[in-house]
């Protein structure tokens, strides 16, 4: 009998690997191989401008750390990520708390909150970009132009485009996080919030003592997805404007090195430098969301 159970289990495991295969194959081909290539390239001087590829060890990494451009890009990346993430979380949490309680017209407000994320960013980024930097004399281009030059004068050339992409990123991300947190609030038993209302002195206290801790895993998930997908918006604008982003972040700086400069080695090293930070964020997320020992959250 036990051997029959063993056979059944073995067949189950075999089936499991068979069902996993398509996902793993896709990820290996589209992400795994390119990642391997990037790691290997980051230790070489590979370039389309050169015939011979030589192994250069850590030189690309060292070169980046000594480059003031890298530190500028790193600073902008950190500031950009911090500001957008905080803004998205604050707005998203506000939306979720607003929508958590019933009121007249809630469905409509919910749809309004949902739409910025559902609206395809691939095309809205085109519209957004050309609205904020109008190409020809449309009726609003004088107004936008004035605004653009005012911002660029105050903060440096390119500031306006960067700012507008940041705003776009916040607009779209706050919608996604708002809906995600709303789903999270729905997953919390309502009695918990009722009990908290009875037990806490003020709404402010209730917010920090109950709402935030209860929603922590969902907040962490939102932050992680926003960090990893935030680059896509910048990449979109980069493609759209042929690289005319004056404020470099790590991602766009790596693009620029690779595509404009043909320096694949430094570009690979540069983009890989983000991985440890994202991994740390991921581990934190796993600890909050999917504890290995499955203690009740």
């Amino acid at each position: 009998m036990s051997s029959r159970v063993g056979t059944r289990r073995r067949r189950e495991i075999g089936l499991a690997y068979l069902l996993l295969a398509p996902t793993l194959l896709l990820l290996a081909a589209v992400l795994g191989y390119p990642l391997g290539w990037e790691v290997w390239t980051s230790f070489t001087n590979l370039s389309p401008l050169q015939d011979r590829v030589a192994f250069v060890g850590l030189q690309n990494y060292r070169g980046q750390i000594e480059d003031p451009q890298f530190w500028l890009a790193a600073t902008v990346t950190v500031v950009h990520a911090a500001i957008t993430t905080v803004a998205k979380l604050a707005l998203g949490l506000g939306f979720a708390l607003l929508l958590a309680r019933p009121f007249r017209g809630r469905t409509l407000v919910f749809l309004a909150v949902f739409l910025p994320w559902a609206y395809p960013a691939s095309v809205s980024v085109i519209g957004w970009y050309w609205t904020l930097s109008p190409p020809i004399t449309t009726s609003y281009s004088v107004f936008m132009g004035t605004l653009k030059y005012a911002v660029d004068n105050a903060l440096g050339t390119g500031a306006w485009v960067f700012l507008s992409v940041t705003l776009f990123n916040i607009w779209r991300g706050s919608s996604f996080i708002g809906v995600l947190l709303l789903a999270g609030i729905n997953a919390v038993p309502p009695e918990l919030f009722e009990y908290a209302t009875l037990e806490s002195k003020s709404a402010w206290q209730r917010f920090w003592m109950v709402t935030v801790p209860v929603l922590k895993p969902f907040l962490a998930l939102g932050v992680f997805l926003s960090l990893t997908s935030g680059f896509a918006d910048l990449a979109n604008v980069w493609m759209l404007t042929n690289g005319r982003i004056v404020f470099p972040v790590i991602g766009t700086h790596a693009y620029w090195l690779a595509i404009e400069g043909g320096e694949f080695g430094p570009a690979s090293a540069l983009s890989l430098m983000l991985v440890p930070f994202l991994l740390a964020a991921l581990l934190l997320l796993f600890r909050l969301f999917d504890p290995p020992d499955r203690e009740p959250a």
């Binding site: 069902l19 996902t23 009121f103 739409l115 095309v123 085109i126 519209g127 050309w130 493609m239 969301f289």
Partner: protein
């Protein structure tokens, strides 16, 4: 009502109004521009349209991609928008189907069959989000070239799922994992095959989570502009985002805006129809998963 309660209500309604304006203004603005004639676009009020017209939309469908002559030194071409639309439908449908198919298979394996270390498999799959997308398309081109898929729509159908798969697998497998064993076991004891039990019992039960996964996939792939413009080069092979990106916006601003709406409106409508299901599915996955 007491003055305090009244003030509170007013404050709440102002807040709701602000939220609606914040969320919808950019969408409204792009929609209004696309309904304008060239004259109103230049001289009219930017915020409203007095003489709405669909001529920009019509022109997108009339043009077939032939040159329209020169404006100064610039070749003023028309755009094969109808072809872009077809390509987009093919790519998006293919991607959503492929993503859901592979995600459900993997999630069933991880959540129900639970091979040794299934939790680690799930984490490794989710961890693929930390791979920076920045210059990934350079080596990705080697893969595309090796498969003989240069300038082919199939590239997107293969690449796009990886942007949504990790989240979908995680969500679905967390849901499957916490469905009680018994519901499937009863069917198995009655002599049903695993496949029957899956299609008859598990799959119908997980409809809200499948909707959530589908909407997440659609929202994610519809935001890509970069991959589409890198890999689709000739204009008859482009999707709408890639194609619109090649437009000479200085000359065809109104056409571009109309194109944006033609892509966005169907997707927004589909998503809006499933919006409540999307939240319900996310909640279900979180209830089971957390």
């Amino acid at each position: 009502m007491s003055p305090r309660g009244w003030r509170r209500r007013l404050g709440r309604q102002t807040l709701v109004l602000l939220v609606i304006v914040y969320c919808l203004f950019p969408i409204y603005f792009v929609l209004v521009q696309s309904l304008k004639t060239a004259e109103e676009d230049v001289f009219g009020n930017p915020l409203i349209v007095l003489h709405p017209t669909l001529e920009n939309f019509e022109e997108l469908f009339v043009s077939k991609g032939e040159p329209r002559g020169f404006v100064g030194a610039v070749l003023h071409r028309s755009y094969p928008f109808f072809v872009w639309l077809q390509n987009t439908i093919v790519v998006f449908t293919g991607t959503v189907v492929l993503t859901l198919g592979t995600a459900v298979a993997a999630a069933y394996a991880l959540g129900r069959l639970r091979p040794p270390g299934f939790r680690w498999w799930r984490r490794v799959i989710f961890a693929s989000y930390v791979i920076p997308q920045t210059i990934l398309f350079v080596p990705l081109y080697h893969v595309v070239h090796a498969l003989g898929l240069d300038d082919n729509l199939l590239v997107l159908v293969l690449v796009y799922p990886t942007t949504a798969l990790p989240f979908c697998v995680w969500m679905l497998s967390a849901y499957f994992e916490h469905l009680p064993r018994e519901i499937e076991e009863a069917a198995l004891i009655e002599g049903a095959s695993r496949a029957t039990a899956f299609f008859r019992i598990i799959l119908p039960l997980s409809r809200p989570v499948l909707v959530a996964a589908g909407i997440f996939t659609l929202g994610t792939i519809a935001s890509d502009f970069t991959i589409a413009s890198v890999f689709l080069l000739s204009d008859i092979n482009q999707t709408i985002p890639a194609g619109l990106g090649t437009m000479e916006v200085a000359l065809d601003e109104l056409l571009a805006v109309a194109g944006i709406n033609l892509m966005a409106i169907p997707i927004v409508l589909i998503s809006a129809c499933f919006a409540r299901g999307y939240v319900r599915g996310l909640t279900a996955a979180m209830l089971e998963g957390a």
